[in-house]
Symmetry: D2
Subunit: 178 residues, 4 copies
């Protein structure tokens, strides 16, 4: 029997776009979360990751899926500023909430990126209704596989006690494979 | 409240490939079924529908998803013979069971295609664990949307009595939208 | 200095579609020829090679480019019959002349395919105004590279004596190689 | 008979990347020029135009094709700075010379963009060996059509007197228009 997935670390943010107030993962308990970590000058992010998140956001209106973005800048900091990010959100018609990852005082890697031990961008993070990290993957995510995983999580039971069992079923189904 | 989806009609087949014995939908109760209806000379089928079904079949090994194909020839009957279909299965590495739809004595539309009132090929049919038709769509299916729908159905309860409720939840989540 | 390219071998055909009379390469002297060799059940042919030839045919109306297809069946002969090919031409809206390669009495490889020593399908053959074989490649051809090569050949001098020099200039420019 | 194409206007630049000294179109007489006008936050530019220019640059090494980029920022000026552009050139591995269009004192449209009356980005400009503007198009360029046009220009005669005739032949062939 597999151990339950670990709890998703908090996200540490400097500021937010497309939302009136900061969003804490803790407040999203009961929902399934897709967190898309990107950099605006990362080719695979703008070609694949961002359009995928935008489409998921459109498809999931009215559902329990929360789509969030986080700008995890770890290089070219002078180029990827908040004002540049804001222009990107406009040009790519991104209307879901997007955070700027909290810069580190000690190096180029921002705090959320470090807490999640991300390997780069794009990184896709999926968190279940119980706040557990069920997927954490660097690179381009396959649409079919990501849909299978999110569909299974969205359809699972909503009360916390039953969630562990839902995950087990999902693992059994091999639904999250890339 | 929406009425429950209708029961999926039986499939009427002339012969099968990639299986030792004919498959009846009735025997697949308890599983989720993806039935891909195609013609071998239909451009969108070979470019999109068949590769999508092949990938779903690979991703879902060990799960409760049954992927089936049905060759619903309604034109160019002399070209799309069983021997030609067999060569196609080999060239496109299709290893899931594929049926030849039962020809009609009265016209060009074969019997399963008529029973499902398909508008053409490709047509994607999704049947839930309780044998109900939850999706029936002509044309290219979006990977993300199809994944969301199948994931939700696979993760739903397996006993027949509860299945109706699972579908309701899935509809609530808007999971099957193209 | 490179030797001039070899002369393109004759094509040997059993029958033709989309033309009233057989076409001999000899009669196309003065034109640039794109000869697309394919099999109807070859996935890369229907996904890439055939659509590329169709688009070239549309783009080059009124020019000196002759687009020809040849059905070089070397496997699944019972599946890829002339009647099946005719249906394919209809479904993929292929309106340029297409020949059926002449079957061999000695084995599965048809005669034109053997004369050109093709490695499989799709194979793209480009013949200059002087009847010389300037490209012969197995696999998917890059659109940009093929356009550069054909553009240079179409723009070159039309009299035979000067053709060799035109090729030299093109080779100098490295224009056709991805 | 068509009139000859107009002369390509000069480009007005603020600074250059990937070259030791500014490049004047006047100095490129005798070469064929592909000038790709883009903005770094323009989705179609990074998805299509820039990769196409990068591939043309790679394919045309050793030929008479000069590939140039120009960053024609007409919106989000605070986001698309020179330092941001420099990071983009690095991330997208752009090694051909790229200019920053000269800002206007009178409005958001920079000077080269205005001189060429561009409708937006991406814009593809093709200039023949004689300095004449033979293509000027807003939007995504088709690879095959662009290859045909450039191939024909590259293969044409190099002396100025003959160039007009080469263009005429190319126009006759309808080679560049999809």
């Amino acid at each position: 029997m597999n151990p339950p997935p670990p709890r998703a670390p908090d996200i540490r943010t400097e500021r937010w776009f497309n939302t009136d107030r900061p969003i804490a993962l803790e407040k999203l308990k009961g929902k399934v979360v897709l967190l898309h970590a990107f950099q605006m000058l990362c080719p695979a992010c703008v070609a694949h990751g961002i359009p995928q998140a935008v489409r998921l956001h459109e498809m999931s209106r009215g559902s329990d899926l929360a789509v969030l973005g986080i700008h995890t800048v770890f290089e070219h900091h002078a180029a990827m500023t908040a004002v540049a990010l804001e222009a990107l959100l406009h040009e790519y018609r991104i209307s879901f909430p997007v955070a700027v990852d909290q810069p580190s005082l000690d190096g180029p890697i921002p705090l959320t990126m470090a807490a999640y031990r991300m390997h780069g961008t794009p990184t896709t993070v999926v968190i279940d209704r119980d706040g557990r990290l069920v997927r954490h993957a660097f690179g381009v995510e396959d649409d079919l596989a990501l849909g299978l995983l999110l569909g299974s999580l969205l359809s699972g039971p909503r009360d916390r006690g039953a969630a562990k069992d839902a995950n087990a079923r999902c693992t059994e189904a091999g639904c999250g494979m890339p």
